[in-house]
Symmetry: C2
């Protein structure tokens, strides 16, 4: 049975925190200077653990096991959201690294292989899940050619070149090599914290259905245009968002979430009636039937508004992903390793596991997030929970490999 | 009886259109190159009409009558809104200039004086009614020191210096010189057009009560934060705007208008629950009791939301102006001159006349706007309406001066 080393785990996590430290969190955008340095450091740690380390042409870091027996792929990511938390990404990497070290130190597990992957740009500074999509064969060269940093517009090709990864081959999935994929992550919610349980066994990664809703009105003077005559695009959008707010709770699933993250009124001046208005709206659920029902309701509310209102509303689908189911046997392995301290729950956030699930059985393990805080520099997890999670991760990995 | 010259009026208006022409309109921000050139040109036209022309230290252009008899002050503005209409401003200037010329040409009116003023920055590129407020004594040096161009941040002092107006004295109101103030403007609405009448006699300039409404929530992950746990500042704001939309029609006056011109959600990303949201909201009416009633209702709706909602809403007053009543006798003079083709109506837009009304009897005359379009380059008025308006303006001016 593998024995993980709490001091070593915490020291490695703290070391990663130094790459782009921001208050108690980190600011480590993909291919920024601290990010490239962290990738180099992580590759060295993998090599030191006896793995064959490599950074590929899309910037993903790999550590390949030299063990003779069956292998499990583990993974997470190096980069962070802007000015965000220190564990979102690194926790899963260090768990994989520590499992490989613990396996190698124990004669009983020495032959079982742990591969470790740090998937490039899970946080989406340049695109959407570029590293894991590249690995499973869902990223073509054209998309890489066109990808740019969403904040400063730097072409991804230039950034890869500058990091020294330009022209390298991309590592892709080798059928038959792995019994499955295991990814650990902080929960980013407060379900574990509020129940007192320590391990989340992820049942599915929810789908995100994302839309742009646009209202077309008539820009005019806010003083001289009577209420009867105006066609206020902003008001049309506010009314639709109000209708969604009343309708969705009636038809949503128990864990459905929906969000309007951005509203833009044009031209956006205090004394001008908005001639155009736009909202970004999304909902998430793990159940396809619920997603379909909400989509239909949204279209119905817009059609209803268009029958009466003076500002035509249009709906543009930005993305409609499919829920990714986690493998049942691998879930049992985590649950068994957790010894009664676990609960099953879906992941409301997207993770690389949703792409790995397309080519092999995949599973995810959550540890508690203090206050459920995520994507903020105050994000944190209690040390004892980090340490416990690493041991459950290694035990679950052994079960997965033994059962194969 | 003064005889205005249609060809001369239209030629002067077309000449002004050439300063910063944009499609069929103009782009002539205050103290931009075309604006400074237009000021120089207008001063030359005033001088050519026999007036004593002068551009003062705040950039207002004046033409002072040399007539011996009573004098009427007329005025409007040179600069335009960005990429906006060609008549918004110039119409009133050329009407004043033409009245001065027509008076001078007729022995019967030669002794009656028309002063012409082009008030600086009525359109608010650097501040709020800077020229007319300077003239009536409501603009101190500190405000000028602090004023900056709202688009590019250029200090007003620098822009005045570059235009050549730096260090000049500011012209201020000379008590006793004028029998009153008359300003002509396009209606900017469609009331005249829809009634078929040609002249609007303004009864009052409405007050604008303007607010910033802020909601404070908790920024969090849009996937992992349950609906029950989230504190969505954007949703709180949408709910308030919906409540205003339901409540205001029940208590507003017949001509009240209200507008939300800008909504900002922070951080404004599709997958982040807004932690902060802000709206700019205003309403306008000529009746103080209506304004007070709407202000109370707005505060009540916010208090109600704060009793139940998880995101505290706060209301910040950005401005609460006073309705400016136009002088009764001067209104009668316009109505008399219009010969049955006029109607009385309030102005929903602000005009320099609201500040002139503080120091002398003031009046405004509207001509029709095609389609009620305003603050857009397609703004226009039929030539026959422009020409008729100029004659009514001159006739009304004579009545105002004779009755004094």
């Amino acid at each position: 049975m593998p024995r993980t080393d709490p001091a070593r785990i915490l020291a490695d996590l703290q070391a990663m925190r130094d790459f782009g430290r921001f208050k108690t969190g980190v600011h480590r955008p993909s291919l920024s200077e601290p990010d490239v340095a962290a990738r180099r450091w992580f590759a060295e740690r993998l090599e030191a653990a006896g793995l064959e380390a490599r950074i590929d042409g899309i910037g993903s870091v790999f550590g390949f096991s030299r063990a003779s027996g069956p292998k499990l792929l583990t993974g997470s990511h190096v980069e962070s959201q802007n000015k965000a938390g220190w564990l979102d990404g690194p926790l899963g990497l260090i768990y994989g690294l520590e499992a490989a070290r613990a396996f190698a130190q124990d004669p009983e597990t020495r032959d079982l292989g742990i591969d470790v992957a740090a998937w490039f740009d899970e946080e989406g500074h340049f695109g959407s899940f570029l590293g894991s999509r590249s690995y499973v064969g869902l990223l073509d060269e054209d998309e890489i050619d066109g990808a740019r940093n969403r904040y400063d517009g730097t072409p991804l090709r230039d950034a890869l070149e500058r990091a020294g990864y330009g022209g390298r081959e991309r590592v892709t999935h080798e059928p038959g090599r792995h019994v499955g994929y295991l990814e650990a992550h902080i929960e980013q919610g407060d379900t574990l914290e509020s129940t007192g349980l320590k391990i989340g066994v992820v049942t599915a990664i929810v789908a995100i259905w994302q839309y742009r809703i646009t209202a077309e009105g008539a820009q005019n003077h806010a003083g001289t245009t009577s209420m009867a005559r105006r066609r206020d695009a902003g008001l049309a959008l506010v009314r639709l968002l109000g209708a969604i707010d009343r309708r969705f709770p009636e038809i949503a699933g128990e864990r459905t979430v929906w969000t309007c993250g951005r509203i833009t009124l044009e031209p956006g001046a205090p004394s001008i009636i908005p001639g155009r208005a736009e909202a970004l709206f999304q909902f998430r659920d793990a159940d396809p039937a619920t997603l379909t029902r909400l989509d239909a309701a949204l279209r119905e509310l817009i059609a209803e508004a268009n029958r009466t209102g003076p500002c035509p509303l249009t709906l543009e689908v930005m993305g409609q992903s499919t829920p990714a189911l986690m493998d049942g046997r691998l879930q049992d392995c985590i649950e068994g390793a957790a010894g009664g301290r676990s609960m099953r729950l879906p992941s409301g956030a997207g993770h690389d596991a949703q792409y790995l699930a397309r080519v092999m059985p995949a599973a995810m393990l959550f540890v508690p997030s203090i206050g459920g805080i995520s994507h903020h520099w105050t994000e944190d997890t209690a040390e004892e929970d980090i340490v416990l999670g690493a041991q459950v991760f290694a035990d679950a990995a052994e079960r997965m490999l033994r059962g194969a």
